[in-house]
Amino acid sequence: MNDPSARKEEDIMKASDGAAAAAHAPVAGKARATSLVLSTAATYLLPLLLFLSVYALARGHNLPGGGFIGGIIAASAFSLFAITHDAEAAHRALRLHPRLYIVIGLFLAGGAGLAPMVAGKPFLTALWADAPFLFIQEPNTPLIFDTGVYLVVIGGVMTIFISLMED
């Protein structure tokens, strides 16, 4: 169950491809207040910041970082992208509707709480596995919970941000 973060990285790479394409597409008839330098930089900052956010998420259990701060970093990356391009481009870069990020995130967090109940332990008890899985030393339920928080923060911030932009 640690693959959400792994999958996340694939998504990031795809998202950045899409983002780069979107950045180079000419926007006809729309006056934009941003500079070419900033919008080009944002295109390349997006994957970089997203990678940093996943890094912050993954180290978060014992070191500074975690789901919330990772989510904030990712949301700021998408927000920067939304400012320099437009709301539509941000939607494309996000792939899913921000609301679905919230739903999936809450579902992951709730599921991480439910999982130990199957094993007969109280809600939210942390379960740790010894076997390493991909790049994660000890797959555990707190990481799933944190991934859920990460997605909820992205979804929440982007819902607010894009709604404000579209107004």
């Binding site: 609301r99 809450l106 579902f107 709480g113 109940m117 939210l124 008890t125």
Partner: protein, 519 residues
Amino acid sequence: MMPVPMIIIAPILIPFFTALACLAAWGRRRVQRRICILGAGVLCLAGGQLFITVWRQGVVTLRLGNWPAPYGIILAADTLGASLAAVAAVIGLAAIVSATYGMDRRRETEGFYAIAQVMLMGACGAFLTGDIFNLYVWFEVLLIASFVLLSLGGGKAQLEGTVKYVALNMVASAIFLAAVGLFYGVVGTLNLADAAVKVAEVNAPALMGAIGLMFLLAFGIKAAIFPLYFWLPAAYPTPSFPVSALFGGLLTKVGLYAMIRTHGLLFIPHADFWGPLLLTLAGLTMIAGMMGALSQRGFGRIISFNLVGHMGYMLMGLGLFSPMGLAGAIYYMAADMIDIATLFLIGGAVALATGNAGGDTRRMGGLWERRPFLAALFIAPAMSLSGLPPMAGFWGKLGLLRAALADRHYWIATAALAAAFLTLLSMARLWEAVFWKPPPSERHGGPERGPERRPEQRPEQRPDQNIPFVRGYAPILVLAGLSLLLGLLAEPAFQVARSAAENIIDPAAYIRAALGEAP
């Protein structure tokens, strides 16, 4: 071992996942309706099951994350919390079913179902938690959910009520949080059971009194007691009526429940001034609320002021702090939750039947002829609220009065009787205005001109709008029946309340179970 922890967390997890499913089905009204009704139904079953479990086995606890008791957060369901959670689930189901006919499409698709479930989760969480800080978190969940529900699809009056509501409740939350911090500084624990033990060793009466007053202020704003009730009649009648029913049934009662829990466990047993203070506030709440109710003309506002006035009865039970008084308050709380929610639902049906969205009773009348069934249904909660036998409200008031007389608090008994009389007056006037007097078209003389020429009418609210039986009347019927049942089964129901009250006054069993020692 296994089924017990599952059942205590079920009333929190079921609404959580139902809300998620509703969120996933955003914009699809029919799917959301089905998910939400199914979730509320399952929640009712879980609430009933939890109550049965608690009644058979005593206090049920669950250590979240398996952290040991005074350090981690625990959930602890005793008779009081479990029974209130069950009642809240039933009211939630009734309000949600009513929303399928009484709410406009925009509000329905814009998240009512998801947020209503969040609200149920918040209420159940507050009823079941055994930790003061966790209680604060559930209050925040409730506040955010109620903020969204209040402003949903808002018009001007609705937003005005929302702003008052949110501003005041934010203040209440801040005071609550400050009080939690001070309490932790003095007592050194936020686990309710642990605190109940340690608070006896704290020798700082002035500080504890101040902290207790801060809690009283915070919960008093939420519970709308005198003199902090003025936001309620401004906010409650403005949203769509299923929302009002949900608020009227759950929110203020959660505030009062928190008062019973914290003050009953931590403050009242250790200082003498609480009894007179709470009784004074109770008397003033009753009289001020009922006077307000009599001065109003709008259906929703009359019910809202009645709601305020009747918070006084529950506060009176807490002020008496005798097994009988507290049992009366707890029994009355369950009855009042049901009755107020029923009245708000009837108010919604009346508004649809008369095409009078504002609920101004001066422009109503004659519904007795056109909607005899609705008129008959109105009698049940009205009688219960006024304290007429055999309805539930009668037994609650009787218990409270007997407790007051037994302790020689004659003036609060007088105030309670006066408030009951004023309620009767208010309900009779409401009945007369809405159902009994001739309809406006006949009153103003001349031949009946038909409903289509009334000035206040708007196109989407035709006067004779049909009320579907299953979705419209059935929730009201179920709640009214529940109130009657609670009255007819007063003996066993009072035993439950009595056992809940004794658990508050002598919390030894609660403390033992919550701290994880052998029962």
